[in-house]
């Protein structure tokens, strides 16, 4: 399997009121194509910071981050933005969308902004609608973002993350603001994307979410203290219950 993301000695330090805060300490991490990796840990452990650093949304203080063969730290702001636009997809907990755009326009925004996309606006919209049909939200394309449910909005975010056919999707607590049934729907969509070959890195607090991932990394105080291979989840309630139980036991051993 090809490595899509690798970090070597990744460090991130914040200086707040002249105090140095080492949020990430020498993180070595490898993610291969097709994996669905969950990052878990207590609050303030550096999960989201790790996500932002490896996706280029934040600059690392030290170490290397190699994404799809490119050393992110060496890229300028413009090149980094282009990398995020063309090769990465993002899903946030709070389902951030542009208020003045419709759901469909939000979804196709990355495609419209991408210079590698030479197709017409109409073709881009059709691609957006196709993704919406796949995720079961094709009837809300023209709606304002305030007119759709949380689950629909998060699925729209998934569509947006997929519109440029990214190499990897970064999801920060994608189900954090959703109820149980919407969470299950969103996770099922992510699993479906993963089965189709999309690599996903997901930060989560929820063991039910992590149980569906193929690998779980446990981070405490900026250090990865544990790693568990859970293999691909094929679906099925019994398998899910078994995976959850096994994961919970493992997490308790890690100090969860």
């Amino acid at each position: 399997m090809n490595t899509i993301l690798q970090t070597k000695g990744l460090c991130k330090t914040y200086i707040v009121n002249k105090h140095q805060n080492n949020v990430l300490k020498n993180i070595d991490l490898t993610i291969n194509e097709g994996e669905f990796v969950a990052i878990m840990g207590p609050s303030g452990s550096g999960k989201s910071t790790l996500l932002y650093c490896v996706s280029g949304m934040d600059r690392v203080t030290a170490g290397e981050v190699i994404f799809n063969g490119k050393e992110i730290a060496k890229l300028g702001d413009k090149e980094l933005a282009k990398l995020r636009l063309d090769e990465m997809g993002f899903i946030f907990q709070q389902m951030y969308m542009m208020k003045n755009l419709s759901v469909l326009d939000n979804i196709i925004l990355p495609a419209v902004k991408s210079k590698k996309n030479n197709e017409s606006r109409k073709a881009t919209e059709e691609r957006g609608r196709s993704l919406m049909r796949r995720l079961g939200i094709d009837d809300v394309g023209g709606n304002d973002i305030n007119e759709v449910s949380g689950g629909q909005l998060q699925r729209a975010c998934i569509c947006r993350s997929m519109i440029n056919n990214p190499k990897m999707i970064f999801a920060d607590e994608p189900t954090g603001a959703l109820n149980r049934s919407s969470s299950d729907e969103v996770m099922n969509e992510l699993l479906s994307l993963n089965r189709d070959g999309t690599t996903i890195m997901c930060v989560t607090h929820d063991p039910k979410v992590a149980a569906k991932c193929s690998r779980v990394l446990y981070i405490v105080d900026g250090v990865i203290v544990g790693e568990k291979e859970t293999g691909h989840f094929d679906g099925g309630d019994k398998e899910l219950r078994d995976r959850e139980r096994e994961l919970n036991n493992w997490l308790m051993e890690q100090g969860w």
Partner: protein, 357 residues
């Protein structure tokens, strides 16, 4: 921008040859307003005839042939039915092809015909077609009102050119107007004016626009006001743009962070933020340019009516200043202000999506 360009229009109009007709004088290129030269008009009878012929001879002898006119006037008691009022009766003496510009009716064609301004008509409660009487040179004269005209002199009446004032003492004159033969160009006119100044030994010889500027005394002041308005416009525009853009950035922080997270580069975001202001300023310039001339005309006529009896006045304007310079200043300030302020979006990072509520 509207204030700026209106001031520009007013300043230009108040030194424009286009408003010469409001002073009750025919089209001419040069004007002698020397009090020593004109003093004879008020002291001697029919002195205007001598003044006209002497001036024409002076011009002819010095290689500047032309025709001269003099507009003279006096306040006389006029009556219509039981209404009486003091009206300024004026007449233009000398050789001219000009006819009086009328707002309504026609110019007087005979000695017993007059045209009057609106306020003069109102004073006497008269209208076109009515007969009025006036005491001029001690004799009662009857006139028929043939039309209405505009003038900077309120309550004025225009007599036919052949009307004789007799011994009536004059109250005012607009000086000697000179219309050079052969339609000389501006440079020749200016040279002629300099020559006339030397010949009569007085500086009070003006071109039409200088004379108007001298008489209205407002053009330079309005120019200064216009320049001040430009400075104020620049400052106010810059302040508004900067404050509004900062407000937008603050309000849209989450959206900016999201766009950066998704991969939109700084340049696109700055361009988008600047463009909205530029579009508004372009629209404002277009609207301002579209309404400028009608509003300027209305305002100028309104101001003219405070001074005299004016209607149908069209403002003069400088197309370069109105349609190029002023919009360029406004749009330029907007572009620079919005662009520099939009640079602040660079401080918002993609990772700020984590801290947005």
């Amino acid at each position: 921008m509207l204030m700026m360009t209106m001031m520009s229009n007013f300043a230009l109009t108040l030194k424009s040859e286009k408003i010469l007709w409001l002073f009750g004088v025919p089209s001419s290129e040069a004007h002698i307003l020397d009090s020593e030269t004109l003093g004879k008009l008020f002291a001697e009878q029919d002195a205007y005839k001598e003044l006209i012929s002497d001036t024409e001879k002076l011009l002819a002898d010095n290689g500047m042939p032309g025709r001269c006119t003099i507009t003279i006037g006096a306040y006389c008691e006029a009556a219509h039915n039981d209404k009486t009022a003091k009206i300024y009766f004026e007449v233009t003496k000398g050789d001219t092809d000009d006819t009086l510009r009328m707002d309504e009716g026609c110019a007087p064609q005979k000695n017993d015909e007059i045209a009057m301004t609106s306020s003069a008509l109102n004073c006497l409660d008269a209208q076109i077609g009515d007969r009025i009487s006036a005491v001029i040179d001690g004799r009662e004269c009857e006139f028929i009102i043939t039309g209405r005209f505009s003038s900077f002199t309120s309550s004025a009446a225009k007599l036919y050119k052949d009307f004789d004032f007799g011994d009536q003492s004059l109250d005012a004159s607009m000086g000697v107007q000179i219309h050079f033969d052969g339609d000389p160009d501006k440079e020749t006119i200016n040279n002629n004016i300099e020559k006339i100044k030397e010949l009569i030994g007085s500086d009070k010889v003006y071109s039409t626009s200088d004379m108007i500027k001298e008489l209205t005394g407002m053009s330079d002041t309005l120019n200064v006001i216009k320049q001040m308005m430009m400075i104020i416009t620049v400052i106010v525009t810059a302040l508004i743009v900067i404050l509004m853009e900062r407000s937008f950035i603050s309000k849209e922080k989450s959206e900016i962070a999201l766009m950066k997270a998704v991969g939109v580069d700084n340049g696109s975001i700055i361009l988008q933020h600047s463009l909205r202001f530029v579009i508004v300023s372009v629209i404002a310039c277009i609207v301002s340019s579209a309404v400028l001339m009608p509003i300027s005309d209305v305002m100028m006529n309104w101001v003219g009516n405070m001074v005299g009896d004016v209607s149908g006045l069209k403002c003069d304007f400088d197309p370069l200043e109105i349609f190029v310079i002023c919009p360029a200043i406004l749009i330029g300030v907007t572009v620079i202000g919005s662009f520099l302020t939009a640079l602040y979006t660079k401080t918002i990072k993609a990772s700020d999506t984590a801290s947005i509520e």
